[in-house]
Every structure is written in structure tokens, then in C-alpha cells.
Subunit: 154 residues, 2 copies
Amino acid sequence: MRLTRAGEYGIRCVLHLARHGKGTLVSRKEIAVRTDVPTHFLAKIAQQLSRAGIIEILQGANGGYRLLADPSEITLLSVIEAIIGEISLNDCVGRPESCHNSTLCSVHRIWNKANQQLRATLQETDFATLASEDACCLTPFPEADGHNRPIEKK
Amino acid sequence: MRLTRAGEYGIRCVLHLARHGKGTLVSRKEIAVRTDVPTHFLAKIAQQLSRAGIIEILQGANGGYRLLADPSEITLLSVIEAIIGEISLNDCVGRPESCHNSTLCSVHRIWNKANQQLRATLQETDFATLASEDACCLTPFPEADGHNRPIEKK
DNA sequence: CGATATAAGACTAAATATATCTTATATATC
DNA sequence: GATATATAAGATATATTTAGTCTTATATCG
């Protein structure tokens, strides 16, 4: 009952892009290094984010990824569900046909409620807010030591 | 990000016991058949429920399981966490040391909030309430066909 | 004591998650 | 157009977790 690593990595990726803002191209390699995600794994995750319309992928020399929307428009929920599919805390939430009678089921109702709450909380959160604060899963904001500084926008 | 089968089975087990009320002894076999849980798997789950103080296990001939508390005192959260451990929706929630600085992390804060909400919702729900209504994961309440009837209290 | 029922843990199988590797394709630059 | 660089896409491999089964031991009733 825990977010997968792929989901976690997806958040980190978008968070890093969000710091650069909408439209700024960042290479896969830079993102991978900064967010501590294996390069090839990041590629797969990026493909999912791309299919979901969250980022755009540019191939070729000087290629990379960039956000298609303003960070304030991108919710935590959309990023997570782009990676792991729609959240369902219990099997019967996602596949009501797995029960004989889920509409009447007292347990099912609780799971539905909890699921809705969770999705609502994740939807309330946007990446502009997240990016404006520090995050433990990324290298810190630009600072004294220099080589930790994000690449400048062009 | 989904409840495991063991967790689901634990709920079914307690739900079935709750229908019989606190203290009523029900054989493992009956529970297994009624809740559609493999007998030996149920045994393992019962041990966890027992360690958590939710049920009592009686060995020997005419053995079985019984609730130690009134169903109204047993929450959905306690049963689930007896089986799968404390819920943590993201790794950093359960193991803050997995991040360099989780107290300052914006993402971490959201997961904490979501986690608390989820646990609160599950804690609000007790098994008296759940048992008073139909549940899709169990054979129905006693009814016309006869052989689906719960065993009488002794 | 014998029959019955669960305990406890070893063991197996299946599913899922995680990571990597390889070949193909796209783009910038010369 | 040729070359270098970067990502795409999917196959493959590994590890972890989940799910289920089996065996031997133990407890209780009658």
C-alpha cells in the first residue's frame, strides 16, 4: 500500500522540471543525476509522462524533456496516475465486478470514500507550490558549493 | 498502492466473526469457507490478528477463533495494520531517514497529510457498523437457501 | 489414548517492481 | 550528407513481494 519507485521517480522528474519552469528543455541525463534516478528507468517514466501530456520529449542532439504546462497547472495526482494508473486502494474499488455486489457492500463504501479523499488531496497539490519549497528527494536549490546549481534557462 | 490480499482476508475474517459477536467461537474451517480464504493462509492471518489482541485462538478439538472485543470497539484500521503493519503511502512517510531532510520537504508533507487522512478514515469505521450491513466479500446473511446460514451461537 | 483442530514455520509459485541492455530513430552541427 | 549525440522502444534480467501450500508439532476434547 505504498507508492512505487516509478511513481516516486515521476514526481522527482516533474519537480525538477518545474523548478526550471514551463517549456525549459532539460536533458534526461541532468534530470537523472539530479533526482538520483537510473537513466534508463527515467526514460520509461518520461514516456508515460509524455503520453499523459505532461511533458514533451525532444529527440536528437541537445534533446531532453520539458514541461508542457505551467507547474501551477500540474497536480500531484496527475503525475502519479500517469505512472501507476488510477489509484485504487482496494481491488474492489478499481474493479467493482470483482465482488458480487459492491454497490451494497459496507466495506466497499469505506474504501471508496478513502480513495476519493486520497485522490482529492493529491489533486489539490500543484507543482508550483511543491517546487517553491525544498524537497528532500532532490539535490538542494542553487547554493554556495556551486556544482549543485540548476542549469540556467536559455 | 493497493491493500494486499492478506489484508483483505483479515477484514473478511473479522467481519465474519463480528456477525457472531464478541466471544463466539467459530472454527477456522467455517471462516475459511464462508469468506473464501484458503485455510492455511487464514491460519497465518489469524496469528497476526491474535498477536494484535483482536482475536483469541483456541487449539485442540472444537478449536477455532473468537473476537476478544465487541465489534463496535474494533476499527478497520486496527485490523488492516495488524496484518500489513502501519500504513505508509510513501517510503519517506514510514522511514523519514530515507530522505536527507524530510521535515523540510514539501512532497513529504503532502504524503504525511494524505496518510493521516487515510488512517483517520479507517479508524472511524468499526466492525459493528460493517457487520450490520451486507458485504460483497462474504456469503450473504442467513437466507432462504438454508446452507448459507451462519452457525448458531452456542 | 485417539481423533480432531490449530500452530508454526519451511517451502513453492506467481506476480510485480526494478533495473539494465540493445537496436533503432531523430536532430544538430559540420 | 556524414557524424556525433541524445532519446525511443522494447526485450531481457534480477530482485522483491505476495500468495498459497505443505509438513511436522502441539493442544484439547471425549
